[in-house]
Amino acid sequence: MNKINELFNNEIEAINIGIEFIQEDLVKQGVKATHLAWTPPAHGNTELIRLLDQLNTPDKKKKIEEANKEAVDRILKSQPVLIGFDQAINVVPGMTKTTILHAGPPITWDKMNGPMKGAVLGAIVFEGLAEDLEAAEKVAASGEITFSPCHEHDAVGSMAGVTSASMYMHIVENKTYGNVAYTNLSEQLSKILRMGANDQSVINRLIWMRDVLGPMLKEAMEFNPEGIDLRLLLSQALHMGDECHNRNIAGTTLLVQELAPYIVQTSFSTQDKKDVFEFMASSDYFSGPTWMALAKASLDAAHGIENSTIVTTMCRNGVEFGIRVSGIPGFKWFTGPAQKVIGPTFAGYTLEDSGLDIGDSAITETFGIGGFAMAAAPAIVPLVGGTVEEAIGYSKQMREITTTENPNVTIPVLDFMGVPTGIDLLKVIETGILPIINTAIAHKNAGIGMIGAGLTNPPFEAFEKALVALEEKMNE
């Protein structure tokens, strides 16, 4: 039967877009009618709509679809394996004794915000490049330090992302495509370098991590030539209620469980081993950076595919939010202002005290976990300040701006729906729906640390700029 006659023989169920009274009239007549919370495409920007339409011609559309399929295929086929730990100077490309890597898109010392400056100063003291914080300030401004984004060195860094030569790094190899990603180790507590704190207790911890934790992990992984398949752990962690950006309790347990048999084989003293296990147990966040490196390793493999509109990086330096798009190879950053993070704060602080969105950790959302997988982590709901249903809603809604669902990483409560994967720039512009990111909040001033956690979005502007560049590139 033709579809019109089918309609005549079925009950009407309507979706209403626009004037609300039309929906009310339908409901009065006993019809199920759903009113959309509709907004104009591209936030009503006619120039952007024109660009979208230009990319929607049959031949361009086909090219983009094929490229995007290739890009998400590479994300899905990636097999990120933790193969070891080592000091940044030994493994991170381009690392020097006077290089300090930071989160987000490029930024100069004078423009950095409080927490990033605090972290840089602490790192300069930690590396012995200055006696104290005061002297470090001069060194930082002297031009002797090379500042560079983690992302431009195959690395990611949580919060300020400050990474210096002697810090120990995770080494995560993408076994499918051969690329490697790095990230440093969790400092666990809240008054820590990556959050902008830099007093002696922070430096002492970094020294212990350099002298005990790091070398022990390095040696442990030497007993495990196979490495640790992180994707399997990630899948399990989601099934255990993590979303692996702000809730890592299951993931950390799983990772420690994997590491423990090798740690016990190392040549360190029992006391040192006990200290390391206690340190790992002192915060759920221990595996947080690990999942970031997993995401980075997978997404880098999907970067640089001609005509692809898939977003391969989202990161922030506390001042600007930057994205990269697969179809524009290399390190072309599209930026907009970093946004406020809205959520609960620790006692004694309010959102007035918070620094703007910061860190490379949005690589997790770019991959499809974190904010995108909140439905897997109902326990994280208070962060949303709302309900479990809202958290589930976020995961479902992210399908509107992504290309596929990751069959390897699933959310049980949504009938094992795969996490929404492959943010499509065009869909973000078209729907106006921005990726949802859940993240920690650092105090806006240097030297204090973490004061809360909450939700935020990228600025629409970054996506606008990327669309303009991509459309130009396709016309070349």
Binding site: K3, L7, A14, L36, S282, D284
Partner: protein, 515 residues
């Protein structure tokens, strides 16, 4: 100022839950700051950082819950601490009430598997994009928006045609599907007559007359005002004809349109000729011969078409009240008007109601002007200034830029009405009032103050002001048809019983006899 801590042994709560409870605790009156957390080293450190650490805190274990508050010292700190403790047991119940919110058609269509139609009324510049998305989801579309380009309309209708979907509209916001009114529609009974209309109020008029004559509507499909242009080529009217032909609940089909383009009219009639069901055709200015050649029933006016349809659908002619023209009334009004009061001014909210009255006048008078006259030579130079016999469609684009359609807000024609009412050459003012879904809740009420004002003015100037009002609606419409008519009568407005009669009465009222 004082600090007090409470340690709850072996009590576990998730850290984020605790953070949010801490936030709530900070809102409690008298609390300077509050911190609630598990006894981890990290939390102790946070407490120490803000100077609230006590001996109890230092001794707390990882599995213990710590509650520590600092107050301004005015109230008993123990009481405040109790209040904070209560937050731990308070459960938030709001979740089950909230309804899922969808932002895009794709999202809604994916989740709502039974959804079968999208009703789109967003601003014209975005409407076609949304309609395309709806068709992509295999939804039928009712496109209520106007200002959609003809290129978009053609492309959308081709997509719909290829998928076998309905793509109703734009510029003709009416439909009744399975007895459910969409957008502008009257509440009529279900029956065996199907209407396909390329004109909004024309189709509404047809459904209301059929209802008045005791029959009902199986389906009313509004195809869009430009469907019978040669550019669109009647795509939706033809698809709808085939669907009604195949629909066992439809016995008679009525086609309604403003003057169709010639080539397209032929195309439609060729389809009509092949159908097994009787078809009544009311095309304004339609070609009688061509229509009868297609074995269809020709109707010159709307009521005439409705009468033919109900008879074909089984009504008995001798039981019908056909509402013939009231000849004594015509004579009475003619006598009230002076020789100078010779022009009709039609101020319409419904486009086809305007058209039908105008066509009736055009049969009798050569000097009929309008913003929608089929011959551009008779378009008004200034749409805000009437000329001789003038018919204005206030629902036309030039009047709706940036404002609601006059069927939603009938007050948009008040100024014009007062202007016409003070013109000594005006013999009759025609006003329509459309009821039903989507229309204003009290369209007569919206015009009444202006009607009283105009009547007063005419009385002071010693002239008769003839106002002919037509209320399009059924007794089932929410606005209360009877009461709307009663209000008009009380204001001294003459009532017409149909669109057809409105046009005919109007032109006869100002007839001065053959010159």
């Amino acid at each position: 100022m004082s600090v007090k801590a409470l340690i709850k042994k072996n009590t576990y709560l998730d850290s984020i839950t605790l953070m949010s409870i801490s936030n709530e605790a900070n809102q409690i009156e008298g609390v300077k700051q509050a911190m609630i957390g598990m006894g981890t080293e990290m939390n102790k450190e946070v407490i120490r950082n803000v100077g609230m650490d006590t001996k109890d805190i230092e001794e707390a274990k990882t599995g213990d819950l710590m509650i520590v508050i600092e107050t301004d010292g005015e109230k008993d700190i123990s009481q405040t601490l109790e209040q904070v403790e209560q937050l731990l047991t308070k459960k938030d119940k709001k979740q089950s009430e909230s309804e899922t919110i969808y932002h895009t058609i794709h999202e809604a269509a994916t989740e709502l598997e039974k959804a079968n139609i999208a009703v789109i009324s967003v601003s014209g510049e975005f409407a076609a994009r949304e309609a395309r998305k709806a068709l992509d989801e295999n939804l039928h579309v009712m496109l209520f928006s106007d200002n959609v380009s003809i290129e978009d309309e053609i492309s959308l209708k081709n997509i719909a045609h290829n998928k076998g979907l309905l793509m109703m509209g734009p510029d003709c916001g009416t439909a009744i599907i399975n007895n459910i009114g969409l957008c502008f529609a009257n509440n009529v009974r279900l029956g065996n007559i199907g209407i396909v209309g390329a004109s909004g109020t024309g189709s509404q008029e047809m459904s209301v007359r059929i209802h008045e004559f005791g029959k009902g509507i199986s389906q009313l499909i509004g195809t869009g005002g430009r469907d019978l242009s040669d550019e669109v080529g009647g795509i939706m009217m033809i698809d709808s004809l085939h669907a009604l032909e195949a629909d066992p609940k439809t016995d008679v089909i009525v086609l309604v349109s403003k003057p169709p383009a010639k080539r397209t009219e032929e195309k439609v009639l060729a389809v009509v000729k092949e159908l097994s069901k009787p078809v009544v055709i009311w095309f304004l200015g339609g070609n009688e011969k061509a229509i009868t050649n297609a074995n269809a029933h020709y109707a010159k006016y709307s009521k005439e078409a409705a009468i033919q349809a109900v008879l074909l659908a089984g009504a008995k002619e001798d039981e019908l009240n056909k509402r013939a023209l009231n000849l004594p009334l015509i004579k009475e009004v003619q006598e009230k008007l002076t020789a100078e009061q010779k022009y009709i001014r039609g101020l319409f909210t419904g486009g086809t109601l305007c058209d039908e009255a105008m066509f009736a006048a055009m049969e009798k008078y050569p000097n009929v002007y309008s913003n929608i006259h089929p011959n551009p030579e008779f378009h008004l130079e200034d749409i805000n200034v009437s000329k001789e016999h003038t018919f204005i469609d206030f629902g036309s684009d030039e009047f709706t830029q940036g404002r609601a359609h006059p069927m939603i807000d009938p007050s948009t024609r008040i100024d014009r009405f007062l202007q016409e009412a003070s013109d000594p050459e005006v013999g009759v003012i025609l006003l329509d009032f459309v009821l039903g879904y989507g229309a204003h809740e009290d369209p007569v009420g919206a015009m009444l103050p202006a009607i009283f004002e105009a009547k007063d003015l005419a009385e002071k100037e010693g002239r008769h002001l003839e106002i002919l009002g037509y209320v399009l609606g059924t007794e089932l419409d929410e606005q209360n048809l009877e009461l709307q008519i009663q209000k008009l009568e009380e204001a001294g407005v003459t009532i017409s019983s149909s669109s057809q009669n409105t046009g005919l009465l109007g032109r006869e009222f100002v007839w001065k006899g053959a010159q």
